[in-house]
């Protein structure tokens, strides 16, 4: 068996480790781009790897073998993968498929709720204010076809001064402009396909917030955005309406973001290529393994003619 078929699994673990290291060191927009490219690519590569491992087993079924015109006995005799490994890979593939379906259904339901919210008569403007004392702000959807909306609570607006309000609205606007809902959805689907990648979702979540922060700071004011976020966070902590455990690693994500805004912005972008390179290596390995598998079945077809 060609052992390169296992490279995508190693690449998944490596990607998680690298993302942990790089997530706070890279320029947020570069990290967001690299992570949301590498994640789906590696997820697809693991599916490819599982396919390579799984396919010799169903190929022994006479009906499948008849369709492919190869001899089931020849496949069984020369199969490069042990039947147990194939069975495990088949089970993993089925599980991934089920997880993907569930995630897609959840995303569709979410998207429908967003569409419902943005088509309301009240939602004639991009910024929607809800009368709620709890300080909160959310970006809904993406700014395609005028669907994106920014939902801000009156409690937050009353807490902030004019510059802070402008900075916070610019932050939410950056989420919409940079299509963060699409990137977050892609990472969720990738993690559904390949659970090894799940820890990266939190990293990407943090990076997307930082990316929106930097975009808002560039057009409004760093200090105002920092104090606006800090004020809102303090008020939320004091009213004890904190959603617990959203981030495992970045437990102080909000505080980290404020601190990052008060520090000098990171300009490092080149290391982001390391993340993409991991995905490219995984893709090359899977390509090789798939090619080998194709050759095996070609050979199996020849044996059946003998």
């Amino acid at each position: 068996m060609n052992t390169v078929v296992f490279v995508p699994f190693g690449a998944s673990v490596l990607l998680v480790a690298l993302s942990r290291i790089l997530v706070t060191r890279l320029r947020p927009s570069a990290a967001a781009w690299a992570l949301s490219t590498a994640m789906p690519l590696v997820a697809l590569c693991t599916v490819g790897g599982l396919l390579v491992l799984a396919c010799p087993l169903p190929a022994r079924v006479p009906l499948v073998a008849a369709l492919g015109r190869w001899a089931p006995s020849a496949v069984a005799r020369h199969s490069p993968v042990a039947p147990l490994v194939s069975a495990l890979a088949l089970a993993a593939l089925t599980w991934s498929g089920c997880r993907l379906c569930r995630e897609v259904r959840a995303l569709v339901a979410e998207a429908r709720t967003v569409l419902g919210a943005s088509s309301l008569r009240r939602a004639a403007t991009e910024v929607i204010v809800v009368d709620d004392p709890v300080p909160q702000a959310h970006a809904l959807g993406v700014s395609v076809l005028g669907l994106g909306r920014i939902v801000v609570s009156s409690g937050l607006l009353r807490l902030l001064d004019a510059d802070e309000r402008a900075a916070v609205i610019a932050h939410e606007h950056a989420h919409l402009d940079q299509h963060h809902a699409v990137l977050a959805s892609a990472s969720r689907l990738s993690a559904a396909l390949n659970p090894l990648l799940a820890p990266i979702r939190d990293d990407l979540g943090y990076v997307l917030e930082r990316s929106a922060d930097e975009a808002a700071a560039a057009t409004t004011s760093r200090g105002a955005l920092a104090s606006g976020i800090a004020k809102a966070a303090l008020a939320t902590v004091q009213t004890a309406r904190v959603a617990g455990g959203a981030f495992a690693l970045h437990r102080q994500a909000v505080a980290d973001r404020v601190a990052a805004l008060l520090a000098e912005p990171t300009e490092r972008t080149r290391a982001a290529w390391v993340l993409v390179a991991v995905a490219v290596v995984a893709a090359a390995a899977v390509g090789w393994a798939l090619h080998d598998t194709e050759r095996f079945f070609e050979a199996a077809r020849l044996w059946s003619r003998r």
Binding site: T125, D131, H138, A139, G141, D163, H173, L234, A243
Partner: protein
């Protein structure tokens, strides 16, 4: 003025009216929004928001005083809550300002807020 920028200004005027907590005349809105807006721009935005039914107005002396319409915000709030209540998992279609806030952060946040306020007092300016 490009359309997107106009939409953002619209949001800022609406935000200023909500933040004020009392009816504002256009001159007060201008002050509350901050920045270097023209009076006529603010007037245009106020009229548009009024046409959309998002704000209402009363005659105060010679000018109109504007305030936000509170009714019906509950519908949108309900939709957002529906998304937030989708279990413990973060939703992909919705990015929250305070995602990942921990209850232990209070002291740290207080210190950071003091630093941010200090930085702004030193003239943070509109640099990047």
């Amino acid at each position: 003025m490009e359309r997107r920028a106009f939409g953002e200004l619209e949001g800022q005027v609406l935000a200023a009216l909500w933040a004020a907590g009392r009816p504002l005349v256009p001159a007060e809105v201008l002050g509350a929004v901050g920045g270097d807006l023209a009076y006529t721009t603010v007037m245009t935005i106020l009229v548009r928001l009024h046409d959309k039914g998002l704000i209402e107005r009363n005659k105060v002396g010679r000018a109109y005083a504007y305030r936000p319409v509170v009714a019906e915000t509950e519908v949108v709030a309900g939709q957002v809550r529906k998304l937030l209540d989708r279990g413990h998992d973060r939703t992909a279609v919705l990015q929250g300002l305070l995602d990942g806030l921990s209850a232990d952060d209070e002291d740290l946040l207080r210190e950071l807020l003091a630093r941010a306020t200090g930085r702004r007092a030193d003239g943070d300016g509109r640099s990047s």
